[in-house]
Amino acid sequence: MAEFLHQLASGLALGGVYAIMALALVMIYQATHLINFAQGEMAMFSTYFAWKLIDSGQPYWLAFFATVVASFIGGAVIERLVVRPFANAPVLASVIVFIGLSLIFNSLAGWLYGYSVTSFDTPFTGRPWFGSGYMSAHESGAVLVTFCVLALVYVFFRFTPLGLAMRAAAQNPVSSRLVGIRVGWMLAIGWGLAAAIGSIAGMMAAPIVYLDPNMMGGILLYAFAGALLGGIDNPFGAVFGGFAVGVLGNLIGAYVVGAEVKLSVALAIIIAVLVWRPSGLFGRRLVARV
């Protein structure tokens, strides 16, 4: 029983990381109907950026927020320079751009920082929280950070004029331009936000999975499974899916298939969702009258 609860709790911690990554994927999907395959490698690169700052003696939280800001800027710049020229290109061209981006970031990280596996600091050290033995302090902290990120993203999109404009631009670009919204900038900001929250996922994952240029490969796969499971067009569904995949993956890995083939659980979920319920658990059916 204790072992089961432990698996459940650590699944929750990783699930939070998947949930944030899934949210980043959904953000870009909603605006462009494309999956950014480079999201994971961008997050990995951000995490190295944070590692470099911490390594140079900066306090953790300073490095954390500097990384989030730098990732935001980086994401927006990538959209402007690399993604935008393909805005009207066929879907496959964009997919290839994303794969190219992911390879570039992977190699760049290896070239700059080496391929050896490194440990990554966590601000949540010491004894487990609430005296519970099921979750390490970092895992509890990661779950907390996840919920903070989700709440902030929700408040931003739900209650701020910029968030509203971004939702509008994603849904109906033509009408948005007709009321004066700069749709192009909304896309760039969306990429920036996705990169920023991705960097948080990376920094929360690194103490668990360790830092190396391939750290986000598996995580992106789980996040994608989570996003599909919840419904790729529904941010709430994606977050739920991320957590569900984290917990399910851990439990099935521990009790059914063994940890070695744990990653195939994500693939199995992807295939199952696509076969039986392509819109995911919470993928919306729109109500419209004409």
Binding site: N172, R177, V179, G180, R182, V183
Partner: protein, 238 residues
């Protein structure tokens, strides 16, 4: 004579390689109403899309004397040109209130926006009742009202409407045209109205342009257009 709020000379427009407008001239006077009439496929909607920069266009387009032929859609909107597109352009996933807030997106005067919300809800009480409802669930008439209300919240100088009567019951159409008349008279908003319902449009307009296959077939004061025999037979049906 005062300067027109909108003047187009030799307006051309393309859908891909196909040219849809072949040099169209017309004007909207400051505070005036110009109706664009014509059959299906004549190029009426294309004119509005070209003016808003939604499609490739050429020719001299001036808004209050300033050339807007090279401006992006959003910059034209920011000059005070509110385009109510065909199909109404509703943000169907958003609530009625969010749709209206988007109309005020470019404005910084919070108090003015709040006043305009009250005013718009006074004109369209149905929208006030449904402000928290998903806009896609509104009826066609309500969505047309929402589109006009959203445009009003931009505080436009010129409103361009694409077939505001389309698909609506006659009573609703009469109501909408009554409100458009008020907007023009009481708020001094100039109107450019594309309509299939020629009789309604001519009642409201002071000038009219008749479009046939992407060219101006006839233009002039509304009375003159109404009195034209060919127009009467083809578009007014008596």
């Amino acid at each position: 004579m005062t300067q027109p709020i909108l003047a187009a000379k030799g307006l051309e427009a393309w859908y891909g390689p196909a040219r849809a407008l072949h040099g169209v001239d017309f004007e909207v006077e400051e505070g005036g109403v110009t109706a664009v009439l014509g059959a299906n496929g004549a190029g009426k909607t294309t004119i509005l899309r070209a003016l808003s920069g939604l499609i490739r266009r050429a020719g001299d387009i001036r808004f209050r004397g300033r050339s807007i032929g090279a401006l992006a859609t959003e910059d034209i909107a920011r000059l005070g040109v509110a385009h109510v597109p065909d199909g109404r352009g509703t943000f169907i996933d958003l609530t009625v209130e969010e749709n209206l807030r988007l109309g005020a997106h470019i404005r910084a005067d919070k108090q003015g926006v709040r006043r305009d919300f009250d005013r718009v809800f006074g004109v369209f009480p149905r929208l006030a009742e449904r402000r928290r409802q998903q806009a896609g669930t509104l009826s066609g008439g309500e969505q047309q009202m929402l589109a006009i209300a959203r445009a009003l919240l931009m505080r436009p100088n010129l409103m361009m409407l694409d077939e505001p009567s389309f698909g609506l019951a006659p009573l609703v159409v009469a109501e909408i045209f009554r409100i458009l008349g008020e907007i023009n008279r009481d708020e001094g908003v100039s109107l450019l109205i594309v309509e299939q319902n020629a009789s309604l449009a001519l009642d409201l307009a002071d000038r009219a342009v008749l479009i046939e296959t992407g060219m101006v077939a006839l233009s002039g004061p509304s009375q003159a257009i109404r009195a034209d025999d060919a127009v009467r037979r083809a578009y007014l049906g008596y």
